[in-house]
C-alpha cells in the first residue's frame, strides 16, 4: 500500500463526527440542499444518480431533482414532500457527517423533532422570497428548545431574488429579531445559497461576490463542537447487569451502560441513585481491556468495590456532584399525539434506562410559536403543540435539568394503551 493511502486510513480512524439536521418550512429546499451537498461532495454513487435521473426525466422535471436522493418513500416521491426523516452519510478528510433531512410540513413535526434530537447543528432553511415564516420560527424554537447549540441560517433560492444582498440582509435582520428572544443558541451563521444551482453549498458562489463568508460545507467541516458535551457531572445509567456464570468470572458483577455525562475513573466515590448507597469504582471493563478513565458517550461495564443491589434503571453518579432525585418533575413538552393532553393523564414514562408510570398533573401554559408568548387561557396540548407541564412519577427519577445534561434531562411519555410515543419532554 502506498504511503499516501495508509495516511488516509489512519486519518479515517481519527476523524470526528458532526451530526446535523435540516429545518425550515415546506418546499424551502431542505432535501434539495442535502442532495446538492452529497452530489457536489461526490458522495453519490453512479447507480443512485442514474436512478434519480431516470425518475426526474419520467416526471418531466426540468433539472435532475436532487431531493429524490433523500425522499426515499413512494409516498414522498408521489407528493414531492418529505414525510419522515432520512438519514444520509458522508465524509470529507476532516470529518464524518450524519445528516438528518427532516420534513417541513407541520403535520410531521414529530419526525422533525426525531431528527433534531440527536443533532449538534441545525441548518434552518429560509426561502429568500418568503423570509421568516411560521414554520421557520417553529423549527428554530424547537432547535433552541432541544439545545442545538450551532445554527446555520441558509437563505435559499437566492437565484430567484437576483442574488440580492439587500434581501439577504433583510432576512438576517428578521431572524435576529426573532432569535433574540430565544436563549440557548450559542452560535448562528448566515449563508446565502442556491441549493438548486449549488451556489455556496460546496463551492463559493460567483453570483454573489458581495458575500465574504465560507461555503456551507467549509463551515460544517470546521465548526468547533468539542466543548459541547458535559464533562463535569458524571452520570451512568445502568442498562444491564452482566453476570457471566462461568468459572473464570464466577464473581463478576458488571454494570453495563453508556456514560451519559462526565468522567469516571477507578477509585472514584460514587452514589447509586435513587437508593443512595455509596461505593467506589473498582474497575472499568471492555472486551479490549480495562480503562483508566471513561467518559461520554462510551459504552462500558463498571464494577464496584462492594456488593449492592443495583438494577436496570438505577443511575450511578459521582459523590461530589450528584443529580436530583425526586418524583415531582417540571418539563417542557412537544406533544405528538392526535389525542390531546388536557389536565390530567396517566402514561408510561421513559427516562434514560428507567421506565415508570407518571401522572400529568397540570398543563401550565402553551407557547405561541410566532410571538413566543405564553398562552395561559387554553391549556389543552394538541398535536404539535409545545408547552410546560408538571407531573408526578410512580417511583423516583435520578435526573438533571435538560440544560445541564441532554441525557439525564430528557424523557418521553408513552400511551399505556396504544404504546405510541406521545410526547418528548425536557426537564426544566
Amino acid at each position: 500500500m502506498s504511503e499516501e493511502s495508509s495516511g488516509a486510513v489512519g486519518g479515517y480512524l481519527d476523524m470526528d463526527l458532526l451530526r446535523f439536521t435540516t429545518a425550515g418550512s415546506v418546499d424551502d429546499g431542505k432535501s434539495t440542499l442535502i442532495g446538492r451537498l452529497l452530489y457536489d461532495s461526490k458522495a453519490i454513487f453512479e447507480d443512485q444518480l442514474e436512478a434519480i435521473e431516470k425518475t426526474s426525466e419520467q416526471r418531466g422535471d426540468e433539472n435532475v431533482n436532487l431531493a429524490l436522493l433523500t425522499d426515499g418513500l413512494r409516498a414522498e416521491r408521489e407528493q414531492g414532500i418529505t414525510i419522515d426523516v432520512a438519514y444520509r452519510y458522508f465524509a470529507t478528510p476532516r470529518r464524518k457527517f450524519i445528516i438528518a433531512d427532516t420534513p417541513g410540513h407541520i403535520q410531521y413535526t414529530r419526525n422533525m423533532v426525531t431528527g433534531a434530537s440527536t443533532a449538534n447543528l441545525a441548518i434552518v432553511l429560509v426561502d429568500a422570497r418568503k423570509g421568516v415564516i411560521e414554520q421557520t420560527s417553529r423549527h428554530s424554537f424547537i432547535a433552541n428548545l432541544l439545545r442545538i447549540q450551532h445554527v446555520v441560517i441558509a437563505v435559499n433560492k437566492m437565484d430567484l431574488v437576483d442574488w440580492g444582498e439587500d434581501r439577504f440582509n433583510e432576512i438576517n435582520e428578521e431572524f435576529r429579531k426573532f432569535a433574540s428572544r430565544l436563549g440557548n443558541i450559542v452560535d448562528v451563521t448566515f449563508i446565502p445559497i442556491s441549493a438548486l444551482k449549488g451556489d455556496n453549498v460546496v463551492e463559493k458562489s460567483e453570483n454573489m461576490p458581495w458575500y465574504q463568508g465560507p461555503s456551507l460545507l467549509y463551515h460544517l467541516e470546521t465548526v468547533y463542537i468539542g466543548s459541547d458535551g458535559n464533562h463535569v457531572s458524571a452520570r451512568f445509567p445502568v442498562q444491564w447487569v452482566i453476570r457471566p456464570h462461568s468459572d473464570q468470572y464466577h464473581d463478576f458483577r458488571g454494570y453495563a451502560g453508556r456514560i451519559a455525562g462526565g468522567v469516571f475513573k477507578p477509585g472514584d466515590d460514587v452514589i447509586v441513585q435513587p437508593s443512595g448507597f455509596e461505593a467506589k469504582v473498582k474497575a472499568i471493563h471492555t472486551m479490549d481491556g480495562e480503562l483508566e478513565e471513561a467518559f461520554a458517550p462510551l459504552s462500558i461495564a463498571m464494577t464496584l468495590d462492594r456488593e449492592i443491589d443495583i438494577s436496570r434503571g438505577d443511575m450511578i453518579v459521582k459523590g461530589n456532584n450528584p443529580s436530583e432525585v425526586g418524583q415531582d418533575i417540571e418539563a417542557m413538552i412537544c406533544w405528538f399525539s392526535d389525542k390531546p393532553l388536557n389536565g390530567r393523564g396517566k402514561f408510561a414514562l421513559r427516562h434514560t434506562t428507567k421506565e415508570t408510570k407518571a401522572i400529568v398533573k397540570e398543563v401550565k401554559y402553551k407557547v405561541d410559536i410566532n410571538t413566543l408568548h405564553k398562552i395561559e387561557d387554553d391549556r389543552e396540548l394538541r398535536l404539535n403543540d409545545i408547552g410546560r407541564i408538571s407531573l408526578r412519577t410512580a417511583s423516583p427519577l435520578s435526573y438533571d435539568s435538560y440544560k445541564t445534561n441532554r441525557n439525564s434531562g430528557s424523557f418521553i411519555l408513552v400511551d399505556l394503551f396504544t404504546n405510541e410515543t406521545v410526547g418528548a419532554a425536557m426537564i426544566v
Binding site: 493511502s5 476523524m15 418513500l73 426525531t114 453495563a256 472486551m287 462510551l298 434514560t352 418521553i412
Partner: protein
C-alpha cells in the same frame, strides 16, 4: 484541559453496543439475524463486546434460502462454535417442501420473497419479540428512513408513513401481543465504517470477500458465481475471472465484482474508489424503484 473527543468509529461502536443492550433488556425473547454477511459478522462481534465477559444472551437466527455459498456455512458454523451461541436455522427449502410458500417460476426467479415468509414463520415459531438486523441506512433509500427500533404489526408489516418518533437515545420497545420489533444497531454505519472497523478489530471474514479466481457467468449485467445453483444457460459463456463479493446473499442473485483486492487494505481502497453502491449488483433491488420499500413493508429484513 484533557481531550474528551471520541472518534466517530468509537461513537458508532458505543451507539451499537448501547442498542444491543437495550434490546436484551427491553425484550423477552430477542434474536440476532445472522446471514453470514459482513454486517451480521460486525453485529456478532459487537454483541460479544456488549455482554463480555458473559455470553451473548440471545440466539442467532439464519434464514437459509438453500442457495448458500459453501464458504458462508462453514464460516457460520465455526463462529457459532467459538461463541458458544445457539443457532436456529429457518429453512426456505423446508417451507417450500411443506407448502407454506411457493417457489417463483421463470428465468429470473429468486427465493428472496420466500425469505420473508420463512422469517416471519421462524419468528412466530420461536415467539421472538425482537429481531436484530445488520441493516444500515446508507444501503438504500427506504432503509435511510428506518428507526433503530422499528415496529412491526401482527402481520410483520412496517408502516413507513407512521413510524414512532425516536427521541434522543430513548427507545420505545413497548408493543401489543403478536407484534414485534426489528432492531438495527448499525443504522448509522456506512460500508466504509464496516470495513474500517473489521480491519481495526482484526475480525476474520469468509474468503468470498477477498479476490479469488472463479468460474462465472454474466447474467442481466451481474456477475454470478457458477455453483450447483447457477449454471450457464443457453447463450451464456462460462468464464474464469478474478472476483470478490461486496455483499453476501442468495447465491443465485448476489453479483460479484471484478477485483484484485485480496486483503483488507486493498478492499478499503476499493470501497473508497467505488462508484456504485454495494447493492447495485443485486437483482432483487433492481426490480422496481420502490422494490426495497415494498419488501420491507411486508416484513423483509
Amino acid at each position: 484541559m484533557p481531550d474528551y473527543t471520541v472518534t466517530h468509529l468509537n461513537q458508532i461502536e458505543s451507539e451499537a453496543i448501547f442498542v444491543l443492550r437495550e434490546t436484551a433488556a427491553q425484550f423477552e425473547r430477542p434474536v440476532l439475524l445472522f446471514s453470514g454477511g459482513k454486517d451480521s459478522i460486525v453485529m456478532t462481534h459487537l454483541a460479544r463486546k456488549a455482554f463480555w465477559p458473559a455470553r451473548i444472551p440471545f440466539p442467532l437466527l439464519h434464514i437459509d434460502t438453500g442457495h448458500n455459498f459453501r464458504e458462508t456455512i462453514e464460516y457460520r458454523d465455526a463462529l457459532v462454535k467459538e461463541l458458544g451461541a445457539n443457532l436456529i436455522v429457518g429453512s426456505v427449502q423446508k417451507a417450500i417442501d411443506e407448502g407454506r410458500v411457493v417457489e417463483e417460476k421463470g428465468l429470473n426467479a429468486s427465493r428472496n420473497a420466500l425469505q420473508i415468509q420463512t422469517l416471519l414463520d421462524a419468528l412466530e415459531e420461536g415467539q421472538y419479540d425482537a429481531a436484530l438486523g445488520g441493516g444500515r441506512r446508507d444501503e438504500e433509500k427506504a432503509r435511510a428512513k428506518e428507526r433503530f427500533f422499528s415496529h412491526r404489526d401482527e402481520f410483520g408489516q412496517w408502516d413507513p408513513k407512521n413510524q414512532r418518533p425516536e427521541l434522543w437515545n430513548i427507545f420505545n420497545g413497548r408493543m401489543s401481543p403478536g407484534e414485534h420489533f426489528r432492531v438495527f444497531p448499525l443504522s448509522n454505519w456506512t460500508e466504509m465504517d464496516v470495513w474500517q472497523y473489521l480491519k481495526r478489530e482484526g475480525v476474520d471474514l469468509p474468503s468470498l470477500y477477498f479476490a479469488h479466481e472463479r468460474e462465472i457467468v454474466v447474467r442481466n449485467g451481474a456477475i454470478l458465481a457458477v455453483s450447483e445453483f447457477v449454471q450457464p444457460r443457453e447463450g451464456e459463456a462460462l468464464e474464469k475471472r478474478q472476483i470478490r463479493f461486496r455483499t453476501m446473499g442468495d447465491a443465485t442473485i448476489t453479483g460479484a465484482v471484478e477485483s484484485d483486492a485480496s486483503n483488507m487494505d486493498m478492499i478499503i481502497e476499493e470501497v473508497a474508489a467505488a462508484r456504485e453502491t454495494e447493492r447495485g449488483n443485486r437483482a432483487d433491488d433492481k426490480r422496481s424503484e420502490s422494490a426495497m420499500e415494498d419488501r420491507k413493508k411486508q416484513g423483509y429484513f
